[in-house]
């Protein structure tokens, strides 16, 4: 535990490379607008978090199943990495995205996986806002960064033969109908984006500067005009205070935590450049999400482990074929290893969050990690149902340790967007409608 010794200012951290940093987030620390610790009898309200981990081109369906419930749950080979957290797992089978069917293979099956929107072919992109961005907006006032949008594979933007842009294969997070959210591929830059140089700090810098302008102007105008400009000045100061409040509270929480000698999560700033090994790359990206969730820098993240039509290569799995061609033999042992490898990223993130206490539970208990792919079978390009896993109880709003199978139900009763509506509702965001759904998923 060398954290206390090595703790240095963020500024230094941002300039340095590979320095361990510690950012605590502790259960007893009230941070939502209160300056003093709450009475123990009042249950602290912890933030809920949501992450989506995406893997393109489907899984090996022969090895994707679970039986039973809770501690007795039996997991198939591809799901085995989740064994340690299976009581916090929901295996959900049979959901689908209507707009991703019947439109041709690949990009049309992908770009709307988090939005449920119909996609437009050709030169002009058109889809819909994705659920992670809706949630990010929902909490945008509460966190430094509304959402993290990360990827382990470069987006591409050419055309598929279906005349859908490859941008649909590369982006699951969409800001609005026209624009995908730019994705960060470099761990070092993703790390930086969480800290002071983003979001609220930028707003504060702007406000600081215009406050100076107003001061300057006030000296040159009549008394009556000064009164009008004071209105402006006071508004600027007020907004500044609002913005810094959250940050100050968190800084205080950090200081108190340190004084009490609690165990702290720590993560060195990743090196500049791209990690040579894909395993390191994915590990760093999941670490960043874990740290961001623990420190409440953001509550929403998406991680594109690999895109649709992926070109990733997995020599460490003894597979020399690239991901997409490998998916055309999706029932092979090799593709099972690829599928399992991606699930192990989810398992790793879940376990990291589960090791972070928050109240009498863990950060994982207050989160919902969603893992999904755009196809059930890569060889058949089958999107009539999608593989989907949920880990975490989302602040006791979501029972876990279950296997839910919607296969064979009416199409209207197994919509992905209904699941998103249900999850949003549990995060206190009541939406009348999202994507193609206007009712939550019954039976969740």
């Amino acid at each position: 535990m060398s954290n206390r010794r090595t703790r240095i200012s963020r500024r230094t951290l941002l300039q340095g490379v590979g320095v361990a940093m510690a950012l605590p987030w502790l259960e007893s620390l009230p941070v939502w607008g209160e300056a003093t610790p709450t009475n123990d009898a009042v249950a602290p309200k912890f933030p809920q978090r949501f992450a989506a981990l995406f893997m393109g081109n489907g899984i090996n369906s022969q090895h994707w199943w679970a039986n039973g419930a809770g501690a007795e749950m039996e997991l198939s080979r591809s799901l085995a990495p989740l064994e340690p957290v299976k009581t916090k797992l929901n295996v959900i089978q049979g959901l689908f995205n209507k707009q991703a069917t019947g439109v041709g293979i690949h990009p049309g099956q992908t770009g709307n996986i988090l939005s449920g929107a119909a996609l437009q072919k050709g030169a002009v992109l058109r889809g819909g806002v994705s659920i992670d961005q809706v949630l990010g907006q929902h909490w945008s006032e509460d966190t430094a960064v509304p959402s993290l949008v990360l990827g382990c594979e470069q987006p591409i933007t050419g055309y598929h033969e279906t005349n859908f842009s490859m941008a649909y294969s590369s982006h699951i997070s969409w800001l609005d109908a026209n624009s995908p959210v730019p994705m960060e591929v470099y761990p070092s830059l993703a790390f930086d984006s969480l800290f002071d140089n983003q979001g609220s700090q930028r707003a504060t810098s702007i406000l600081d500067r215009v406050k100076d302008h107003a001061e300057h102007v006030k000296r040159q105008v009549s008394r009556a005009d000064q009164a009008k400009l004071n209105e402006y000045f006071a508004s600027v100061r007020d907004v500044e205070r609002q913005i810094s409040r959250t940050r100050t509270d968190k800084d205080k929480a950090e200081a108190r935590a340190e004084n009490r000698g609690r165990s702290l999560a720590s993560m060195p700033r990743p090196d500049n450049g791209l990690p040579e090994d894909l395993r390191d790359h994915m590990r760093l990206m999941t670490d960043i999400i874990a740290m961001a969730f623990q420190t409440d820098k953001t509550r929403v993240a998406t991680l594109l482990l690999c895109r649709d039509l992926s070109g990733l290569i997995y020599p460490f799995l003894d597979v020399r074929t690239a991901h997409h061609p490998a998916s055309h033999d999706d029932e092979s042992e090799a593709y099972e290893r690829i599928s399992r490898y991606h699930v192990s990223q989810l398992a790793y993130l879940a376990q990291r969050l589960d090791a972070m206490p928050e109240g009498d539970r863990t950060v994982l208990d207050n989160s919902c990690l969603m893992f999904l792919s755009n196809m059930w079978s890569g060889s058949r390009h089958d999107s009539s149902k999608v593989p989907l896993l949920l880990v975490g109880g989302l602040g006791s709003t979501l029972p876990t340790g279950r296997t839910l199978d919607f296969t064979g139900q009416e199409d209207g009763d197994r919509k992905l967007c209904s699941l998103y509506l249900s999850l949003a509702e549990r995060m206190n965001l009541k939406l009348k409608q999202f994507g193609d759904a206007d009712a939550p998923l019954s039976g969740l």
Binding site: Y186, S205, P325
Partner: protein
């Protein structure tokens, strides 16, 4: 008549303590106030309009001194009106003043008004600092960015001042909640920045995503090609025209081409080809055909023949296209970038050549001559799959034709060589360079290449020797990495037995990639300071004046701090600098620096430029105004007047139409009007609603731009309609595009013309399922004539909501009953009748003969002057004959209030009078009003910092 007579006598003997009205001094006014005015108030007014009761929300108990009356001069003007009209005290009152008492008070108020006006003559008044109204902010952003981004669309509505305008410091306030919206808006606007090698520009959409940047750059290029699309028939027609008029003065190929917006260069080429003797086909065939066109007498026939000739050329040309075989490479896909690009280049190189098809060198040469004039394509904006323009939004644009991979290919050599002027050619060159620079197309194309070659079958670069190059790695496009890849790729190509052509294609590919990526990176370095300068230039436009050295330093320091301390990217730092500019009070506030002391000072030329532009455009000054300000010429009266007239002709005068006219006549935010029952009135669609709101603006813009008479607003027999509004009005107009507006001269034939019968007012002043003569009449007297009508008492009997539920009575009969009610009569007789003449128009302004209850409508009414009048024409005559002066004065007062951005003072009366005088001199032209205002002392000066006046 008797009343008037008495009134005249009363005025005549209204000497009292005021010796004449002119030159009354303060002690005299005070003495009269104490001796006559206060007792009068006490006897006749305060029992209803005092501390205990405030009938019509009027409280006169504050009038304890002359100064207090001056401060409430607007209320006292109303007192004057009521006393003069003998509305007050009401007939029902038991205590009535004598005529002499009444006249004395009237004379006193007038004397006080005049005294105040003269004492403060030319006072610029208290013009408060204020933020831009939402409309002004939107317009300013539009003029800064070139796109109507409307960042304040979702903001809460701005409150209006007493005169009904939302452009004064009296009503415009700032709050933290609003400031947050301003911050968000500023940052959103900054996201539209396009970072070009030579400066900054804006896009109509955010430029954060790669795909948005692609869209922006590609659409500009495609639009260029669209603008310069060549239709050979146009050129043949121009050539025929030239041939016919050849020899006349001023007729050259150059002038003919320019007049038809064709390329003089290409017309000359075609002319030469048509007129240089040619023995061999296809040119010989073409020339023979051409000769027969020249004898056609009818222009339409000529056009048809030219189109036929064009089709002939295209058919002949099609047969001569040079076929280019693709390269095939062992172990590699035909879709590999080096191979596809080679094929594209080869095709592009053949566009002005003929396929060698014959054994005769002479014939081949002739065909080549033909193909040099008629390329197989001028510019290719889509290729490969999905190239058909019929796909609309689904067509692929400018693509190189790769599968999965992003890549653009420029193929427009014939257009550049044959058609474009040097300037045009530079423009398209620049657009292509900007595509590369803004979208980083080469870098992205190369990363896609790496993905494709390494991952997609047949995975030419799938071997371990290529493992060093990962598409995710930003450093793959460094020279070292590119060269390493080139060597490895060439080595494998040679191993696979690639031909020299293929090796050449591969080599060219990597060399070109290296050159393109280097060019971008060098220009990126060079562009940094250019962008910073450009953002400072934007600040000058936003602040409406040159920056001081300190301000320059300040903005530069902000940028560098963002870069160095907050480690923002160059683009983010520039965006935040712009956001700072847009949130700065220098941009989003209007204020003029005050001189020390109490004396007013003339506005600087820059301040004047802003005053003018916010008055006439509700937006920023343009380059011409700023240039005149810089030259310190703007304040010269002749320059000011000339600029005002120029600005009135400019399209931005729409700002005046929407902000001045819209607020004056109360149709702004008609898009929020929800008073129409759309089940009963199915024709009331959003399109019709928008067209209704647009009609008065079109009318006013036209009026202002042609400097017409301000009486046109009331009297005109024309109006403007688009197809949806024309349908609503039952007008037959020439078929036009749905968004197109046309002037209808015989609108009177359809019961329209001028503002009075415009559907927007008739609809806005109807409560849904019936008309409201009350609201309509009230609208006329209050808005158009500026009458002050007190609010109705709380105990008003309600009218049924639906005409169909009126029972046996008609609406006029019901209203007549209403007027029997004493509490209502005093006011309602002033406007009910005026509203009744609109009964020929239903709740959404549609013409009608029967109301919704099926009863015939009556449009006759007895007007306030005792005459019976009928319909729209009756009202028009009444307004222009009986109420003419009130209309003129109202318009003058409203326009001056709007121009100054404050409520009017008594001292403004001289300017109001001058406006009226000049207006008569200038045949009622609206420009006369504007000219008088912008040369008035109020407009040109700013009060001193320590001016004690309120």
């Amino acid at each position: 008549m008797i009343d008037r007579g008495l009134f005249g006598i009363a005025l005549g003997c209204s000497l009292l303590c005021v010796h004449g009205t002119v030159g009354a001094d303060e002690p005299a006014l005070t003495a009269a106030f104490e001796k006559s005015v206060q007792p009068f108030l006490k006897s006749y007014c305060l029992s209803c309009h005092g501390l205990e009761k405030q009938e019509a929300k009027l409280d006169l108990s504050g009038a304890t001194s002359v100064a207090a009356v001056v401060q409430q001069h607007q209320i006292w003007n109303e007192v004057l009106t009521r006393l003069t009209a003998k509305d007050m005290p009401p007939e029902t009152s038991t205590k009535q003043p004598t005529e002499q008492e009444r006249s004395a008070i009237i004379a006193w108020i007038k004397a006080l008004q005049q005294h105040e006006a003269e004492r403060n003559a030319g006072d610029p008044g208290p013009v408060l600092a204020r933020r831009l109204s939402h409309a002004e902010y939107n317009n300013a952003i539009r003029d800064l960015t070139g796109f109507d981004l409307r960042p304040t669309q979702e903001f809460p509505v701005d409150p209006a001042n007493e005169a009904g305008f939302d452009n004064s410091g009296e009503s415009l306030t700032m709050s933290p909640a609003l400031l947050k919206k301003y911050l968000a808006a500023a940052r959103r606007v900054a996201e539209h920045l396009a970072f070009q090698p030579d400066g900054l520009s804006f896009a109509p959409h955010p430029m954060i995503s790669e795909t948005d940047r692609d869209k922006f750059c590609v659409q500009r290029i495609v639009a260029f090609y669209e603008r310069h699309r060549v239709d050979l028939a146009d050129y043949f027609e121009a050539a025929a025209h030239f041939r016919q008029h050849q020899g006349k003065p001023g007729v050259t190929l150059e002038t003919v081409a320019t007049a038809r917006q064709l390329s003089p260069k290409y017309l000359t080429t075609i002319w030469t080809a048509l007129n240089t003797a040619e023995a061999l086909d296809p040119l010989a065939e073409l020339q023979a055909e051409w000769q027969t066109i020249l004898v056609e007498p009818e222009p339409t026939a000529v056009r048809q023949r030219c189109e036929k000739l064009r089709d002939l050329v295209l058919r002949r040309r099609q047969k001569l296209v040079v076929p280019v075989e693709k390269l095939h490479m062992k172990g590699n896909s035909d879709g590999s970038q080096p191979l596809v690009l080679w094929w594209n280049r080869e095709q592009a190189a053949q566009r002005m050549r003929s396929a060698a098809k014959s054994d005769s060198p002479e014939l081949d040469a002739a065909r080549n001559r033909f193909c040099r004039v008629f390329p197989d394509a001028f510019a290719v904006s889509s290729r490969g799959h999905y190239a058909d323009a019929k796909l609309g939004a689904q067509v692929r644009l400018l693509t190189a034709g790769f599968h999965l991979m992003q890549g653009y290919f420029r193929d427009d050599a014939p257009l550049c060589e044959l058609v474009l002027s040097d300037t045009q050619r530079q423009e398209i060159d620049r657009l292509w360079q900007e595509l590369n620079f803004i979208t980083l197309a080469p870098h992205r194309q190369y990363k896609d290449f790496l993905f494709f070659e390494r991952a997609e079958p047949p995975r030419f670069a799938g071997g371990p020797e290529f493992d060093f190059a990962r598409p995710e790695d930003k450093s793959v496009t460094t020279a070292a990495m590119l060269n390493r890849m080139k060597d490895a790729y060439l080595a494998k190509s040679k191993r696979m037995g690639a031909s020299d052509a293929i090796l050449g294609a591969v080599e060219t590919y990597f060399d070109q990639m290296l050159a393109d990526t280097r060019w971008i990176e060098q220009r990126q370095v060079a562009a940094g300071p250019i962008h910073l300068d450009a953002v400072l230039a934007l600040a000058e436009r936003a602040y409406r004046r040159p920056l001081s050295d300190d301000e320059r330093q300040d903005l530069r320091a902000f940028y560098h701090q963002a870069r160095d301390q907050e480690r923002l990217s160059h683009e983010d730092a520039i965006r935040d600098t712009l956001a700072t500019i847009l949130l700065s009070p220098h941009f989003c506030y209007r204020f003029d620096q005050a001189a020390e002391g109490t004396a007013a000072r003339p506005l600087t030329d820059y301040e004047l430029a802003s005053r003018l532009s916010f008055f006439l455009w509700s937006s920023l000054p343009d380059a011409e105004l700023l240039k005149l300000a810089a030259a310190e010429q703007l304040h010269e009266p002749s320059v000011l007047a000339a600029q005002a007239h120029r600005m009135l002709r400019d399209a931005r005068v729409r700002g005046l139409a929407s902000e001045f006219l819209g607020n004056w006549l109360g149709f702004r935010r008609f898009e929020d009007h929800t008073g129409v029952d759309r089940d009963r009135f199915a024709t009331f669609t959003n399109e019709l609603r928008d067209a209704m709101a647009e009609e008065p603006q079109r009318f006013f813009i036209d009026l202002v731009q042609r400097d017409g008479s301000m009486f046109d607003l009331l009297e005109a027999h024309h109006t403007f309609v688009n197809p949806v509004l024309a349908r609503h009005y039952g007008m037959t107009i020439p078929a036009t595009r749905s968004e197109e507006w046309v002037r209808v001269d015989n609108a009177a034939h359809y019961g329209r013309g001028g503002i009075l019968p415009m559907a927007v007012f008739l609809t806005k002043n109807s409560p849904g399922l019936r008309t409201s003569p009350v609201q309509r009449g009230y609208w006329v007297v209050r808005r158009v004539l500026g009458e002050h009508i007190p609010p109705p008492p709380p105990t008003v009997p309600e009218l049924p909501k639906d005409e169909a539920e009126l029972g046996e009575l008609t609406l006029p009969q019901l209203l007549a009953r209403h007027r029997d009610h004493v509490a209502c009569a005093a006011c309602h007789q002033r406007f009910d009748s005026i509203g009744l003449v609109f009964e020929g128009y239903g709740p959404i302004g549609e013409q009608r003969k029967h109301d919704l209850g099926g009863k015939p409508v009556h449009v006759q009414a007895v007007f306030p002057d005792g005459t019976e009048r009928s319909g729209l024409n009756g009202l028009r005559r009444y307004l222009t004959e009986v109420r003419r002066d009130e209309y003129v004065e109202t318009l003058c007062r409203k326009l001056l209030t709007f121009a100054l951005g404050r409520s009017l003072l008594l001292s403004d009366n001289a300017t109001i009078e001058l406006m009226q005088t000049n207006l008569r001199r200038d045949e009622n032209r609206i420009g006369s009003l504007v000219e008088t205002i912008v040369t008035s002392p109020q407009f040109l000066k700013k009060r001193g910092r320590d001016d004690p006046r309120p």
